[in-house]
């Protein structure tokens, strides 16, 4: 039977309340402080290095994000590591927390559908994440302006904005994963552990798993006449199941404009190319479009699974 009334009734109210909770909560403050400190430290270290070699690259601001200075990793490497942690911290108790607080039946006894609650919580997490990342983005640019004494050019701004959007989408994937586990598991600690387990799988073990599976599917990496192309293709497909790989490829193509291809390139494909010459921003965006849509699609699919599971659950606390 078709239900009457919009499933989005109340989304705005949930969104406003949850965003305020996320932004004012101690958990968020601690995580944000951690990200700000490490990312700013990485950017500052990169600036010191860039100042020594100023004039070597037309994309100084992009180097600010990609350059690593011992002992710190680069700004984007830190973000790639920390963003999933923030997203998981935001989402792991989104729904099961309502069960344990015994607030779920009270909230759903108000004239809203459970669709609105789930969507409102997800959007609120995404908004909180976006606010944090946008602040960090502005802070990094400000730091660059102060210490480099140069404004970023338009091309750099466009690429950095694209990178910001990709980072939000990347965080969205991990937020959706955390939300899914918060629906599946009644205990918040179990949900957090499960989400962290998935994160560890993709960030630490995936690079070990993919060669093994690719070898099983397509044979050994080296053939009689050189590299086994079928193996390389299979390994790449498997690699790209991981959101970390997709995000790393986006970062590479957008923040290092000389990147002309992602994945294995045949010698015949680079004949006539001006190696090392930067691609226009539009070309770089075309290059990462599949990865970006892949991240957004993964976010939507995981959210949809969480939605279906939540719809089938009993509300009783």
């Amino acid at each position: 039977m078709r239900r009457r009334g919009s499933p989005f009734t109340g989304v705005g109210v949930v969104l406003a309340k949850e965003t305020a909770d996320y932004l004012s909560g101690a958990r968020m403050w601690v995580l944000e402080a951690l990200v700000f400190l490490t990312a700013i430290a990485a950017a500052y270290a990169a600036i010191l290095s860039i100042r020594a070699n100023i004039g070597e690259s037309p994309f100084l601001f992009l180097r600010l994000l990609t350059m690593a200075q011992d002992p710190l990793p680069s700004f984007i490497a830190l973000l790639g590591f920390l963003i999933p942690l923030i997203a998981i911290a935001i989402g792991f108790d989104a729904i099961n927390g309502e069960f344990t607080r015994r607030t779920l039946s009270r909230v759903l006894a108000q004239p809203i559908y459970r669709d609105a609650l789930l969507l409102g919580k997800f959007l609120a997490g995404l908004v909180a994440l976006a606010i944090g990342l946008f602040s960090l983005w502005l802070l990094t640019i400000g730091l660059g302006l102060l210490l480099l004494g140069l404004p970023p050019n338009t091309e750099e701004m466009v690429r950095m904005l694209g990178f910001l959007v990709a980072t939000i989408a990347y965080g969205g994937v991990w937020l959706a994963v955390a939300l899914l586990f918060s629906v599946v598991f009644r205990a918040p600690a179990t949900a957090a552990l499960a989400a962290l387990g998935v994160w560890l799988l993709f960030s630490l073990f995936w690079s070990v798993v993919t060669p093994l599976v690719a070898t099983l599917i397509a044979g050994p990496p080296e053939g009689i006449f050189g590299p086994n192309i079928a193996y390389l293709d299979t390994a790449q497909v498997l690699d790209r199941i991981s959101p970390n790989t997709l995000y790393a490829e986006i970062a590479l193509a957008l923040l290092q404009p000389a990147t002309r291809a992602l994945g294995p390139v045949l010698y015949s494909q680079v004949q006539g190319a001006l190696l090392g010459a930067p691609l226009p921003a539009a070309q770089s965006f075309i290059l990462v479009w599949p990865q970006l849509t892949g991240l957004v699609a993964a976010m939507i699919v995981i959210f949809a699974i969480a939605y279906v599971v939540f719809q089938r659950q009993e509300i009783r606390a």
């Binding site: 039977m1 009334g5 909770d21 607080r101 607030t103 039946s105 009270r106 909230v107 004239p111 009783r316």
Partner: protein
């Protein structure tokens, strides 16, 4: 009390796989009426409530709440129904006002309505000065009151209260029961689920007794008592003098006479013998009072489930 039926369920059934949680129940609640639903844990009370609120789908049957089908129009139903779940939970980090403002906004109230109704509701549940306090500092009793304040803020035509006094001390319980009577006085229909039979008896107009997903008995406490404890009448007599007990026992139709206290006798009769008893006692004794004894819901409940157990 008007005769308008505000909750109506026909053949309402909920199955979880092979388990039948609620089995073809029929239930009517009229405007301004307090109906108690009783039964052991797992007898289907809360599932029935969730189906009436549109929070879970019935497997069979249909319901109408405030004129709307909870399955098809859950939002309209929830606009008109105030629900207080058992062991109500709040966001501990928020103040009482922020908690109720959140649900008020979800209910579609304007900021002005929330401010006005919040103050009124808090005063009515006896918590006038705690609006700005964080709920984390509240006792269980205060949380239950706050939950009732949330129901009041909605100004519902129906209030569904699921074990509202389960965690309250005796004094708070009495106050809470007074607030439930206040809802009735406002014309609000109340569906009250509770294990505290004396409390149910003290506030409810009618009672539905759940057993294994079915409504085993329903009606006023007197009706239930007649069906479960037997068809006779129980009369309390207050009289002063010697041999009152003997005189009462000699009245034709009297089955048994118990002495409850000095000058107070409980008489089990086959029919209404109040007039006959008064005629017999008045010439020889000081007859101080004569009335039907209030049957005990506790006794009805215990006897019913004893019989069910014996039959099993």
């Amino acid at each position: 009390m008007t005769e308008e039926v505000v909750i109506s369920a026909q053949g309402l059934t909920k199955r979880y796989g092979a388990t039948v949680a609620v089995d073809h129940i029929d239930l009517d609640v009229r405007a301004g009426e307090i109906v108690g639903i009783l039964g052991p844990n797992g007898s289907g009370k809360t599932t029935t409530i969730l189906m009436l609120l549109g929070l879970t789908e019935p497997t069979e049957g249909r319901a109408e709440v405030a004129g709307f089908d909870p399955l098809r129009d859950p939002l309209e139903v929830k606009r008109r129904v105030g629900y207080l779940p058992d062991s109500v939970g709040f966001y501990d980090g928020l103040s009482a006002r922020d908690n109720l403002a959140y649900t008020g906004r979800l209910a579609g109230l304007s900021r002005r309505e929330i401010d006005q109704r919040f103050t009124e509701a808090l005063a009515r549940v006896g918590l006038p000065d705690v609006g700005r306090d964080r709920v984390a500092t509240f006792s269980r009793g205060m949380r239950q009151r706050l939950g009732l304040a949330e129901v009041l803020m909605k100004r519902p035509s129906i209030a569904i209260l699921d074990e509202p006094t389960a965690t309250l001390d005796p004094h708070s319980t009495q106050e809470f029961l007074g607030m439930i009577r206040g809802l009735k006085a406002d014309g609000t229909a109340v569906l009250l689920s509770s294990h505290h039979l004396d409390q149910v008896q003290s506030v409810c107009d009618r009672v539905a007794l759940f057993n294994r997903g079915r409504i085993a008995l329903s009606g006023s406490v007197t009706e239930l008592a007649q069906r479960v404890l037997g068809g006779g009448h129980v009369i309390d007599v207050e009289a002063r003098g010697d041999a009152v007990r003997n005189q009462l026992a000699a009245v034709p139709g009297v089955v048994r006479v118990q002495v409850l206290a000095p000058e107070l006798y409980r008489v089990d009769c086959e029919r209404d013998l109040r007039a006959e008893i008064a005629r017999r006692l008045a010439p020889s004794f000081d007859l101080l009072g004569i009335r039907f004894a209030e049957p005990s819901l506790n006794e009805v409940y215990t006897r019913y489930f004893d019989e069910v157990r014996d039959a099993a």
